[in-house]
């Protein structure tokens, strides 16, 4: 099992690192863009506003470097040769494990980095006037945010990493069954966009997958909205799996 995981890690190491660098550049770029444009009452707000672009792009950044492996292994029949040596379940499981770990890393590390760097700009913070209300009163767990800002960012990053894992799993499931590389690499992104517009058309903008990327769009009373988007995505994955099971598509084409 460990050997399998090592093997898989070697396969996707380079593209994941490249994607990590790109993601870091995007997050840092948008952070610096925010710092010199906005005047906000807390360093946390810099970081929070700078998430706008990464929250849009993360399905692409997560899926592209990872999910091509399975497609090419199926296309050049490599996977059929593994069948006699490793059991199916183990092989696929180790692949999935590496996939979700990779997708977690791609989102987690750059976001945490930009969170750390945002503390450097505490000089640019503009203190709110006395008559203005405190910005954090409408946010999720305001006391925790004020007292342990870094821990708050850390947990935020973990949550976003979990979302990335779900999207990564979606891409992985597509790569198991579909035959068009473009569809595999872009389907999670397109799901993401369509879900975004459908939900907001039907008047549920707080339940989108996009808005569950920001923990602080929730208040203490409607924290459950955070879970709607991910659960819908998981349901979507399950429906796809069931569809492929019913239509009897095979991963191992023997």
């Amino acid at each position: 099992m460990l050997n399998l995981i090592k093997l898989e890690t070697n396969k996707i190491f380079k593209p994941v690192v490249i994607s990590l660098i790109i993601t870091t550049l995007v997050t840092l770029g948008s952070l610096i863009n925010v710092v010199y444009k906005y005047s906000v009452p807390n360093t946390f707000e810099f970081w929070n506003i700078s998430l706008d672009y990464i929250s849009m792009l993360f399905p692409v950044l997560v899926v592209c470097p990872i999910c091509w492996v399975m497609y090419y292994e199926r296309k050049n029949n490599f996977i059929n040769y593994t069948f006699s040596r490793v059991s199916k379940k183990r092989y696929l499981f180790s692949k999935w494990l590496v996939c979700i770990l990779g997708s977690f890393m791609i989102i987690f590390i750059p976001m945490l980095l930009s969170g750390m760097i945002s503390f450097l700009f505490s000089n640019n913070v503009v203190q709110p006037k006395s008559y203005e209300p405190n910005f954090y009163t409408t946010l999720f767990m305001p006391d925790f945010l004020m007292n342990h800002t870094f821990l708050y960012i850390f947990f935020h990053c973990i949550w976003d990493g979990i979302l990335a894992m779900i999207i990564g799993t979606m891409g992985f499931v597509f790569s198991l069954y579909l035959e068009n590389i473009l569809v595999i690499l872009t389907a999670p992104f397109i799901y993401f966009i369509l879900e975004n517009f459908i939900m907001s058309t039907f008047g549920m903008p707080k339940q989108r997958l996009l808005s569950s990327f920001y923990i602080n769009t929730m208040t203490d009373t409607n924290a459950l909205n955070l879970l709607v988007g991910p659960i819908l995505a998981i349901l979507f994955i399950f429906i796809f799996l069931m569809y492929f099971k019913i239509s009897k598509k095979k991963i191992y084409d023997i």
């Binding site: 068009n180 590389i181 975004n196």
Partner: protein, 512 residues
């Protein structure tokens, strides 16, 4: 002969009737519980409910009649000796079926009306359109009920006979197309105030009595008109049944010209069939509907149709940084490009070398792909314009006369822009041999407009965004922006240059 009738009856009486009853009950439940009508008023109101009839009853009837519309059975024809005898069985069926269809619903409504206690004096009749109409004409409401029911039955008989007649003269495909078009016309008819002659084309004129009184005749004359129509259909079937009206599409002159270009490329047909698949068209319509709905929901003003269409095609400003707006633009502009790139990936990565060997020259392959893609983009642009217009018609937005000019303009720019982006996609594909890379590079090229420089105004990616043009920006008091003529000239020249370049180097497109 009896056997034939019975056989046909069992075919047509299906479970769909239960569904019709079920929806009828749900539709009238609210009026039954909360309304303060007398039983007779309730019956009149729910029998002439135009929304229920047009949006549900007529389509269900059409669906039931179409679903067992077969090619004429030779055995039945031989058995009945003459065509007229055979057609008689059809008349019999349509009579019985329309009577069952209407009377069962009428019975249900009568059952529902039992126990209504309103006395009918304290209600505001203005919210019941049909009731108001009949109340002014009759002192006793039982008379209009009889008229409504008989008019409806005759209307349905006429409709089914009409369908059987055109089924005799045309193929089933054409029949379905004709029916869909006529239904769509009547679907829109509620929203439009049309002249009496035009409203003869609408299906609902023959089914809903208070829509049918158009020439100012009395009701009995309307009934007579329907009877005359039925007689006419019968006469056509009795005397002219062996004439052939079937449009032979292949003999039309347009196709002759088409053959000159496409005769040798039968691969063309295959590609168009792949591109215009059901799945592709449905996904286009679905996404466009969602996006146009979203554009409508997100703007909270009372819009005119012109403003709504400008909103839909607004795209992005130069220097737009809001990611949601950029996403909208990308979805509108890149959806056909995405479908095309899926198509290219499927077609050109596995099969090109075989196809090229079969076709002998690669130029033919290139031409057929390009022509299929261009026609796809053409159809997409038309659908993209039609969807907001239809939505606007359903939502009853008012419009100015300048809307036609605007639409023409949008059509030209959009089509040219899409063709340009497709050609760029193709040329990047030529270099990189990887469709994913080329698609994402198209996305990133579209994102250049995020950075505000002066030169970027004429960058041809996303140039169909209306918010970049001076004639739109002038309305907001800004005197800069693109000029239409410049853009069209620019796009045309760029398209021609890239097309010639691709045609010269098309051999590199083939992936082995």
């Amino acid at each position: 002969m009896k056997y034939l009738y019975k056989f046909k009856m069992t075919k047509i009486l299906s479970k769909k009737l239960f569904f019709v009853w079920f929806v009828l009950i749900i539709f009238n439940l609210d009026n039954r519980i909360n309304g303060s009508l007398t039983p007779l008023q309730f019956i009149v109101e729910s029998l002439s409910n135009q929304y229920y009839i047009i949006y549900f009853m007529i389509p269900m009837f059409l669906l039931i009649t179409i679903s067992d519309l077969d090619e004429e059975d030779k055995y039945e024809l031989i058995r009945s000796k003459t065509y007229w005898n055979y057609f008689k069985s059809k008349i019999y069926i349509s009579c019985i079926y329309s009577i069952v269809f209407v009377l069962s619903q009428c019975l249900l409504i009568i059952c529902m009306s039992v126990g209504l206690k309103g006395n009918g004096y304290h209600i505001n009749l203005s919210q019941y359109e049909a009731l108001q109409f009949y109340d002014g004409k009759f002192s006793n409401l039982i008379v209009p009920i009889i008229y409504i029911v008989s008019y409806m039955i005759l209307g349905f008989i006429m409709m089914s006979l009409f369908i059987y007649t055109i089924n005799h003269f045309f193929k089933k495909n054409t029949v379905v197309k004709i029916i869909i078009v006529t239904y769509l016309i009547s679907f829109i008819s509620i929203k439009i105030n049309s002249s009496p002659l035009v409203s003869l084309l609408f299906l609902n004129t023959y089914i809903i009595l208070h829509h049918g009184i158009i020439f100012g005749f009395s009701i009995s004359i309307n009934l007579l008109i329907e009877l005359l129509f039925i007689l006419l259909l019968c006469i056509v079937n009795k005397n002219y049944w062996n004439m052939s009206f079937d449009l032979n599409v292949e003999k039309l002159s347009i196709n002759r010209y088409k053959k000159i270009f496409y005769d040798k490329c039968n691969i063309n047909k295959y590609y168009t069939k792949k591109l215009f698949s059901k799945y592709n068209m449905l996904s286009i319509v679905f996404v466009l509907l969602i996006m146009c709905m979203w554009k409508f929901v997100s703007s909270n003003e009372s819009l005119s149709l012109n403003q709504y269409i400008i909103n839909v095609f607004s795209g992005t400003l130069i220097g737009e940084k809001n990611p949601l707006v950029i996403l909208e633009m990308l979805v509108f502009n890149l959806m056909p490009i995405y479908l095309l790139s899926v198509f290219i990936e499927a077609e050109s990565s596995f099969r090109t070398s075989y196809v090229n060997i079969r076709l002998k020259t690669s130029l033919r392959w290139f031409n057929s792909i390009i022509s299929a893609a261009f026609s796809f983009l053409f159809i997409y642009t038309i659908i993209n314009i039609l969807v907001p217009i239809l939505l606007g018609a359903i939502l009853n937005l008012r419009y100015d006369a300048s809307v036609y000019q605007l639409l023409l303009l949008i059509f030209v720019i959009k089509l040219l822009n899409l063709i340009f982006e497709f050609l760029i996609l193709f040329s990047i594909y030529k270099i990189s041999k990887n469709i994913t890379v080329s698609f994402f590079s198209i996305i990133s090229l579209n994102l250049i407009a995020m950075f505000p420089f002066k030169l970027i105004y004429y960058i041809p990616f996303g140039i169909s965004s209306l918010y970049r043009y001076s004639f739109i920006l002038n309305q907001y008091g800004r005197n800069y922006g693109l000029h239409l003529n410049h853009v069209i000239i620019e796009l045309l020249t760029l398209n021609i240059i890239i097309f010639i370049y691709l045609k010269r180097t098309h051999k590199k497109l083939i992936v082995h």
